[in-house]
């Protein structure tokens, strides 16, 4: 079996670093931009994320999760830690951030797209209201109360959709293998 990018990084293959950035840079940057809403904070956070990735590359186990999921998990942890340390949820978009919002990165993200698109296809089987609640909480960082306010759903309904949705998504993505995944200390 071919070595993954993370396996190669763990083995000291420096060429894998550039490949990692080409393949996952857009994903990590997109997650940061969406949750932090500010280019300066996002740049700092993304640099921290990649240092975490270099440090934790050796912990990646392809039997437990895809490389894309592993990297997205490290990215989200670091970014959420950062948001909490800043004692805020969502910052204001600056004009620069909006006006100069970059475009999609095209061919450089082919590998992410193949894996993640399979996941996206699987998630289409979620109920629309579950998908909506998960998108608002996971992608936009809205609290359950904010989702209730924005959609007009009762708070209890939002919580139920979130809970059932994430469990259904876990099954659809085949991540419920009954074995706890090793904790990654970052």
């Amino acid at each position: 079996m071919d070595q993954t990018i993370l396996n190669r990084i763990a083995n000291g293959d420096r060429s894998a670093v550039q490949e990692c950035l080409d393949t996952y840079g857009g994903l990590v940057w997109s997650i940061a931009r969406k949750l932090l809403r500010n280019s300066a904070d996002s740049e700092d956070a993304v640099q921290d994320v990649f240092i975490d990735i270099w440090k934790n590359a050796g912990r990646f186990d392809a039997d437990q999760a895809s490389e894309t999921t592993f990297i997205a998990m490290i990215a989200r942890r670091r970014i959420i830690d950062r948001i909490r340390s800043m004692n805020r949820r969502i910052s204001a978009d600056s004009l620069e951030d909006i006006v100069y919002e970059p475009t999609s990165s095209g061919d450089k993200t082919i590998q992410v797209s193949v894996e993640a698109k399979e996941a996206a296809a699987a998630l289409k089987d979620l109920r629309p209201e579950q998908l909506q609640v998960l998108q608002l909480s996971i992608i936009e960082g809205f609290s359950h109360q904010e989702i209730a306010d924005a959609t007009g759903m009762p708070l209890g309904t939002v919580k139920t959709h979130a809970r059932r949705g994430i469990l259904a998504a876990r099954d659809l993505l085949g991540l419920n293998n009954g074995e706890p995944y090793k904790e990654v200390s970052v």
């Binding site: 940057w29 999921t69 970059p102 994430i166 993505l173 990654v184």
Partner: protein
Amino acid sequence: MNDNKNEILTDLLFAKAAYGLTPEETQQLAELEADVNDTSIEMTLAAFSAAHFSDKPEAMPEALRSKILAGADQFFGAEADDRTTDLQPTFTLEPPARTPLTSWLGWAVAALAVAALTTNLYLTQFRPEPQVAGNPPIEQTKPKTPTEMRNELMSSAPDLEKATWSAGKMPDVSGVSGDVIWSDKQQAGYMRLKGLPANDPKKEQYQLWIYEENQGEKTPIDGGVFDVAENGEIIIPIDAKLQAKNPKMFAITIEKPGGVVVSKGEKVAAIAKPDLNPET
């Protein structure tokens, strides 16, 4: 564990992965005596996130990429140095004793090396990566301007809906003009605005609202927060927080910094209703 405890556990694991836990929630999670190392929920959130961005991830800025590569060089360089140190023989030849002059030269060389490294790091932030033998140069994607992105949407979306901005309910914001375009199929759109007064982002910000079929009139969709730095024409991508279908109206309100989840609609700066015969 009973069903109720399982639900609480799932809620806490979800909250941990989505927002991070408060100290109280952390305590509650510990009290459930759960296997808190089970990251299947967190992995699901991560996979969901990756799936969401699989279609259109944003390109990382080139300067940031260069910084990360420089950081990686330092990180792996340090690791390699550690390994090299480990492999050093345990006996070494004693260097000749330094005279004051050679000692000074040593410091000078070290200072020059630091200066060279600093210059190199500075330059790598603004210059593309040099071509490395054996590694073909990576073609960089130049970010498109908002005008280019808007034109691209206009030429690629047959279902494009267009609306013209007019003044809202604020007497001092009366000269607003421009338009808004939206594609249901691509879930993308752009506002072209002229005449909105510049705002102080620390005090208030503009926020777009989309009135459409899915959510109904009472709960318009948040279309994103934005600032106006000058009175010239600006083009702003719409950042709809929910899927919008067949918009009936767009409204721009002035809200507190960061925007609001539900607007009281006290300061409506501009309104746009779809044109009957959109001209693309």
